[in-house]
């Protein structure tokens, strides 16, 4: 998994230059300024370069200006903090966060889908359920954390629940929007076949909603990581979120920043995985030049 797949998350309307492909005028114009496009050809080059550039600028800024390391440590100094903690502890923290994020995310998807279907199917259900969803979404997790902990104890359960609560709403909203945006013709095609109603969802509305669903999945995967981290702030003794908070409160900032780095890397990787899943399983749902 590398950074190249990020680019798949977006594209221009112009197809790539390919001697046998239909080229639109936009592509022809692009041929005049080919540097960027040539670089696109090497997978991961551009995103990689961007991040490297950022790190270099950061290093330079911190070495030229007298920025104290407790405000913004230099990347090299952050990198040096890797020794501060044994490798297996790093692994434990990463794994704890990843585990909670993934379990919460998967549960969220599994519940969001039927809920979105119910909301799409019935206006009555929708009228009853939507306000509750907004209520849940707008309740700050930190405020109800004590209840969650008291009810669910102190294993993974409260953290998974918090992650679930944070990722759920965006998924439901995008799934519902997508299913409701299905063109009337396709719905009528389904109705005219007098199929069992749930097939209208599995074979028409859900496939049609795939771009919407993946838009929600992309938003939610980063929220899942955030959710796990927030949960660790609130209740945990391991995980990257705990580690960052812990390091910060002990004034060990390079180490906290390194934790942040791992976190960001985890998010990027998971995000790219979602993009990859879309590309592999639903190529038709992406612009043609992205498959």
């Amino acid at each position: 998994m590398s950074l190249q797949d990020i680019s798949a998350a977006s594209s221009s309307s112009a197809p790539p230059e390919d001697s046998t492909a239909p080229a639109t005028p936009a592509a022809v114009e692009a041929a005049k300024v080919p540097l960027g496009r040539q670089m696109m050809a090497v997978p991961g080059l551009l995103p990689g370069l961007t991040i490297i550039t950022l790190l270099v600028v950061w290093e330079l800024v911190t070495s030229i200006f007298p920025i104290p390391s407790f405000i913004l440590p230099a990347p090299t100094r952050i990198g040096g903090a890797i020794d501060a903690v044994p490798a297996d502890r790093w692994f434990d923290h990463v794994w704890a966060t990843l585990r909670v994020a993934m379990i919460g995310y998967v549960i969220s998807i599994c519940i969001a889908l039927p809920v979105a279907i119910a909301l799409t199917r019935s206006k009555v259900v929708s009228a009853c359920l939507y306000p509750l969803l907004v209520v849940i979404q707008s309740t700050p997790v930190v405020a109800i954390a004590p209840i969650i902990i008291v009810i669910l104890g102190s294993g993974d359960a409260p953290r998974v629940t918090i992650t679930f609560l944070i990722t759920f709403f965006p998924l439901v909203v995008s799934m519902t929007t997508g299913m409701m945006a299905t063109p009337r013709e396709l719905i009528e095609l389904s109705q005219s076949l007098k199929a069992p109603p749930w097939r209208e969802f599995t074979q028409i509305r859900i496939p049609y909603a795939i771009p919407y669903i993946f838009s929600g999945l992309k938003i939610s995967i980063t929220l899942a990581v955030i959710g796990a981290v927030v949960a660790e702030f609130v209740a945990s003794s391991q995980g990257l979120g705990f580690f960052i908070q812990f390091s910060t409160s002990n004034f060990k900032l390079p180490q906290a920043w390194l934790g942040l780095g791992f976190l960001v890397l985890m998010s990027l990787t998971l995000f790219n995985l979602v993009v990859l899943v879309q590309r592999i399983f639903f190529p038709w749902s992406m612009p043609k030049d992205e498959r």
Binding site: V85, R89, P146, F246, S249, N250, F251
Partner: protein, 307 residues
């Protein structure tokens, strides 16, 4: 072995060293107790967890327990004092022109939004004939306090004396010198962090509670005498921590445990006058009726080891 869940009121650090000493030095085991540590996120959260029985015994600010008792009548009782002075202090830099608490008049002070220090601040100021109007108070994330002080965005910050070593290290990096002005120097006398326990635990397993407190007290003494070994005990459980920093933290914390008050009343004691004074301060600060609670009802001295 008897199982006991120990509730911290915050993340592990030097000031939490006794429970780690208890485990690592085998004091708890010798007392026939196996301890599980439950980390905390503030005194209120710790009290809630103790009240619901998630944990059996732990540390929490006495002020928080008082507030919880008067508003919600939580089934939690204080059994031993830990910090017999308020840890609250102003931190300022050499050259900022603040030498005593009185000097903060007209200064910009940064504090974190939810620290219990904020509650006592008006009282300290009032003792000196000031109100919060006389200073500029900015509330911000605790992590931002140090940087704000070092960059001169604040003239002083409010933090606990257990953090002297940490802030000193940070100031050194910025080439500055820290000055710490504990509020106790301005006459704020109170118990703060204390050992508190779930009432059911105390009622059903008084013997365990007693044995635990004895081992815990032994650990406190050990930590104050052997700060570097105490720090090692913490770091061996929490390797993310830095030995030198924790040792500093242990030393800083022990100033609040062993001092002239300890000499007068003994380790872990709840002296009636000081306890009443603490309640008066809490009541005044939070707007409770002083008569609504007899502070004696929230403490139980019967579990204290007789030393």
């Amino acid at each position: 072995l008897d199982q006991v869940t120990f509730q911290l009121d915050w993340l592990p650090g030097g000031d939490k060293s006794p429970i780690y000493v208890c485990i690592e030095q085998g004091f708890c085991e010798e007392a026939g107790i196996e301890v599980t540590i439950e980390q905390g996120r503030g005194s209120s959260e710790a009290v809630t967890k103790l009240a619901t029985g998630i944990s059996d015994i732990g540390t929490a600010g006495l002020g928080a327990l008082m507030a919880a008792t008067i508003t919600e009548d939580v089934p939690v009782t204080a059994v031993m004092s830990y910090f017999n002075q308020g840890p609250h202090a102003f931190y300022t830099l050499e050259g900022n022109g603040i030498a005593t608490v009185e000097d903060v008049r007209g200064m910009t002070i940064a504090t974190s939004p939810f620290t219990s220090s904020n509650v006592y601040l008006p009282l300290v100021l009032a003792d000196l004939g000031m109100t919060e109007e006389d200073i500029v108070l900015n509330k911000m994330d605790p992590g931002a306090l140090g940087p704000t002080l070092m960059t001169g965005q604040a003239d002083a910050i409010i933090a606990w004396v257990v953090d002297i070593t940490r802030y000193t290290t940070q100031a050194e990096e910025a080439g500055k010198d820290i000055v710490v002005i504990p509020w106790s120097t301005a006459g704020l006398e109170l118990y703060s962090a204390s050992v508190v326990a779930n009432d059911t635990f105390l009622a059903e397993r008084p013997d365990v509670a007693r044995r635990f407190l004895e081992a815990y007290q032994r650990s406190i003494v050990f930590a104050s005498e052997n700060p570097s070994e105490a720090a090692e005990a913490v770091v061996s459980v929490v390797p993310e921590l830095d030995l030198a920093a924790i040792e500093g933290g242990v030393n800083d914390a022990m100033l609040l445990v062993f001092n002239e008050v300890t000499e007068a009343d003994g380790l872990g004691a709840f002296e009636a006058g000081r306890l009443a004074a603490t309640w008066e301060r809490v009541a005044a600060a939070q707007g409770f009726d002083v008569d609504a609670l007899d502070p004696e009802t929230i403490v139980d001295r019967s579990f204290l080891p007789t030393n």
